[in-house]
């Protein structure tokens, strides 16, 4: 029969890792601040360059470019100088729990960061959305997918020793299905566009997310064995 | 939204009177000129020559690899 107590025990470890990452982030605040800087500078430059004459299409494109760059940075996380701690965790926890924890943590991180980016954009660069609910749903689902993909790409590239460039090279082609669907859907949410079959697009993004997370979960153990 | 779709449908139905894409097969031009003048055989010969060249190259590489593999087999036999 399904054993709730053992499930809770297994989840405990995952949750513990998430809490650890969160605590580290709040303490060091390195990626947090860097991302705020990214958002702030993009928003400010857009504000200066466009002066509220921004067409919805350009707004859309800029927003997604910002999300991509932020997520690249967020997924790589602040691993520098934490190798000892990582080794410690490796010996204690099974790879599946570790990757689940990292996926959830990165997903939540990206969620908050993307909300902040959206707010920044709305305040400074204009509000061209005609259907905010669908846009939000789209953004949340896509950002979850992108962060999972980039977490895996970071794991692969860290084993490969190529750093940031390798991570970008690996992750970009894999991200394109998500990005194209998301772009299309958010383009439809802008003012002056018709919203047609949003449910279908959202379902396909959800399905892509599911595939990515499942693959990450299953395959991370093989990367780990070092 | 529904009204727009209905109007578009009506427009397209009205346009259908002037369409000719479904004309009889004989109106679609094919390379009959090339075929009747016999030049199609030139095309076929060109392609066959290219193909023959590529296949011969593949076969020669294949033979070289075969030879290397036999050498390795012979070395292993000598060792044992």
């Amino acid at each position: 029969m399904f054993d709730f107590s053992s499930l809770l025990y297994r989840m405990n470890q995952t949750i513990a890792i998430i809490q650890r990452e969160l605590r580290h982030e709040l303490r060091s605040r390195k990626s947090w601040l860097a991302i705020l800087l990214y958002i702030g500078s993009t928003v400010y430059i857009s504000y200066l360059a466009f002066q509220h004459d921004l067409e919805p299409i350009t707004w859309n494109a800029l927003f997604w470019i910002l999300i991509i760059f932020i997520s690249m940075f967020a997924a790589s996380g602040s691993f520098a100088g934490r190798e000892g701690e990582m080794l410690y965790i490796y010996t204690l926890v099974s790879p599946r729990k570790f990757i689940l924890a990292r996926l959830v943590y990165n997903g939540l991180f990206m969620f908050f960061v993307s909300i902040m980016a959206l707010i920044g954009f709305i305040f400074f660069v204009g509000y061209p959305l005609s259907n905010a609910m669908v846009f939000l749903a789209n953004m949340i689902l896509t950002v979850w997918g992108i962060s999972s993909l980039l977490t895996m790409a970071f794991a692969i590239s860290s084993k490969g020793g190529g750093g940031f460039t390798l991570m970008a090279v690996i992750s970009f082609p894999l991200m394109v299905p998500l990005l194209i669907t998301a772009q299309h859907l958010s383009g439809m949410c802008l003012q002056g566009s018709e919203l047609d079959n949003a449910g279908g697009y959202l379902a396909s993004i959800l399905a892509l997310d599911g595939i990515i997370v499942a693959l990450c979960y299953l395959l991370f153990a093989y990367l780990w064995r070092d | 939204m529904r009204n727009i779709r209905f109007i578009l449908l009506l427009l397209m139905v009205l346009c259908s009177g002037s369409l000719f894409a479904q004309e009889t097969v004989g109106n679609v031009e094919m390379a009959d000129g090339l075929r009747s003048s016999g030049k199609i055989y030139v095309v076929v010969s060109v392609v066959l020559i290219i193909l023959a060249g590529l296949l011969m190259y593949l076969i020669s590489i294949d033979r070289k690899v075969n030879k290397m593999e036999k050498n390795i087999e012979a070395e292993n036999q000598l060792k044992e």
Binding site: I156, L166, L174, V176, L219 | E29, V65, E69
Partner: protein, 229 residues
């Protein structure tokens, strides 16, 4: 050296026969006369077969990657990586021939079509695989990491070139979306099938032939490298 299916000759002879048949019959046998395509529908025997061959060889690569992760032998890694190399040749050829075909039928070298985008991005992701392999030095780690990435790339490829263009809300210029993959469902009478099936087999075997030479060369290279170490 292993004497396995890659060294056999029978299927290579079959490949040559089928390809010669395709090239002769592909031009001489009659085809349906359709607007826009005219004679270029004969490209079905060449361009489409490139994609079939690529997907087949990449599937072989995937299977070997999965087998490598289950039980790590060097040979499986060799097969997986060399199959990707061969598959890329055919994929790029497919893209180039498709682009040329599109120029004269659809009017432009490249169109914002989901299947074209999907094919291009899938090939990009496999190039990333080759880059990944090049950037790792340790043999075992290279094999393992690239096996993991291979699985990702393959799943994304399948999603992006097979599933995505078939969704209801996606329009595409490619024929056959909604029908079988690659088949022009509106005009494939028995004439074209007579050339198409041998053509697919012929080009597929050619891809396997190229991959097999890559694999055997790599095995020989590794043998000498391991001997000198």
């Amino acid at each position: 050296m292993k004497k396995d299916i890659f060294s056999a000759t029978w299927w290579k002879a079959l490949c040559a026969i089928f390809l010669i048949y395709t090239c002769v019959a592909g031009f001489l046998l009659p085809v349906p006369a359709l607007p826009i395509l005219h004679e270029s529908i004969r490209n079905l025997y060449f361009h489409v077969c490139m994609w079939f061959a690529m997907i087949f060889i990449l599937t072989v690569s995937l299977v070997n990657s999965i087998r490598y992760l289950m039980n790590a032998t060097e040979d499986r890694d060799i097969i997986a990586s060399q199959c990707v190399n061969a598959g890329m040749v055919f994929g790029v050829l497919g893209l180039i021939t498709g682009s040329l075909w599109a120029r004269y039928t659809w009017g432009a070298w490249w169109i914002n079509d989901p299947k074209l985008n999907g094919a291009a991005i899938s090939i990009l992701s496999y190039f990333a695989y080759i880059v990944l392999r090049g950037s790792i030095d340790d043999e075992q780690r290279k094999a393992r990491v690239s096996a993991v990435y291979n699985i990702f790339a393959y799943v994304m490829m399948i999603v992006f070139i097979m599933i995505y263009p078939r969704l209801n809300n996606v329009d595409s210029l490619h024929p056959g979306n909604g029908g079988n993959p690659g088949f022009n469902s509106y005009d494939l009478d028995s004439h074209m099938r007579m050339v198409f099936y041998p053509a697919v087999i012929g080009w597929l075997l050619l891809c396997v032939w190229v991959a097999s030479i890559n694999i055997r060369t790599e095995r020989i290279k590794r043998y000498y490298l391991n001997k000198n170490v």
